[in-house]
């Protein structure tokens, strides 16, 4: 990201956007999890795939996620300016015009879907297009500013990558990729609510109705614990249904047990100050490790065992 400060004389209107700011629009850190789960979906699918086509499919998933991130920042520029965590993004910091972000996001969306169709198949391209539209229209525009359940339904947007990776190889969608979708879908609420607990003042200041802001801290802690249970069921299901081997089974049970212990610790915590929210920070950090390790175990199970 560029550090060139813009004075009134050199505003975003008169300057072409720096390429590093265009890159920052794609939220590269968020993209890493999307790319990884998409790659794992692709590698877990039965059947061969040419490495160039596989690489292109994963690239398209990354570009699609980046495009959705750019459009999200285009729409939420005003909200981002109100939150400490997001105030330095290119749009709220005034380093880029909204029109540039919109053109970049739409262009990248169309490019990623067309390239996916060319390299993989219609189904993978269609699911990629749906995931971008879902994230931008259903989550960002419709749900996020209106309901505390925004993360519950919006979580579907981040759950598409393994489905896309699988469809890129096989051209169809079966039980296992649907379960992979369900795992991420059910993982998203506890993951985001853990974060929203210790940054809730930011969300409150921006007027975003996240669960801790609307329903209170203790209720959010209970919801985290309640959502952890179906998430664990979905995580263990691929092994229980005989769709994966013992390596995934052991990994899923061990990781889920740790997740459950951390979720119980969050539920037991009565602190209201962000500084005293150690269990919430631990759960948030582990939830990222959890998803990475789980999908890595899936690929290990498919290729090495």
């Amino acid at each position: 990201m560029t550090s060139v400060p813009l004075t009134p004389a050199t505003s975003a209107e008169s300057l072409p956007a720096d390429w590093r700011d265009l890159l920052a629009l794609t939220k590269p850190r968020v993209m890493s999890l999307v790319v990884f789960t998409g790659l794992c979906g692709l590698l877990a699918a039965p059947g061969p795939v040419h490495w160039v086509l596989g690489f292109t499919a994963v690239l398209c998933i990354a570009l699609g996620a980046g495009a959705a991130g750019a459009l999200n920042q285009w729409y939420e520029a005003d909200l981002d300016a109100k939150m400490k965590r997001t105030a330095n993004r290119p749009l709220p910091a005034g380093r880029m015009t909204r029109q540039t972000a919109l053109h970049f996001g739409v262009g990248l969306s169309v490019f990623s879907v067309v390239l996916m169709d060319l390299a993989a198949n219609h189904l993978a391209a269609a699911i990629l297009a749906i995931s971008i539209l879902f994230y931008v229209l259903v989550y960002t525009v419709w749900l996020k500013p209106r309901t505390a359940q925004n993360i519950v339904i919006g979580g579907a947007a981040g759950a598409f990558p393994p489905l896309i990776g699988w469809a890129a190889v096989t051209g169809d969608v079966t039980t296992l990729p649907i379960l992979l979708f369900a795992i991420i879908f059910l993982w998203t609420p506890p993951h985001f609510w853990a974060l929203s607990l210790f940054v809730r003042t930011d969300y409150a200041n921006a007027g975003i109705p996240m669960l801790p802001v609307v329903a209170g801290i203790q209720n959010t802690r209970l919801q985290i614990l309640l959502y952890t249970l179906p998430m664990i069921a979905a995580t263990v299901a691929p092994w229980a249904l005989g769709l994966t081997g013992w390596a995934y089974g052991i990994a899923s049970i061990a990781l889920s047990a740790i997740f459950l212990v951390l979720a119980i610790a969050v539920f037991a915590n009565k602190a209201t100050e962000s500084k005293a929210m150690g269990p919430e920070k631990k759960l948030f950090a582990f939830s990222i490790v959890y998803l990475f390790a789980l999908f890595a175990a899936l690929v290990v199970d498919r290729w090495l065992i």
Binding site: A9, T10, L15, P16, D18, W19, V52, L53
Partner: protein, 43 residues
């Protein structure tokens, strides 16, 4: 337009042109790779 601002604009234009040239080069290589891969898969 102040000279400093003019230089900043030119620098950004140069940087973006370089990045665009690299991306277009990579895209051409990727399209070549996809074509070869599709031909080998269909054989």
């Amino acid at each position: 337009m102040p000279q400093e601002e003019d230089e900043l604009i030119r620098k950004r234009q140069r940087d973006r042109a370089r990045v665009m040239a690299i991306l277009l080069g990579l895209f051409a290589i990727l399209m070549f790779g996809i074509t070869i891969a599709k031909m080998s898969v269909n054989q």
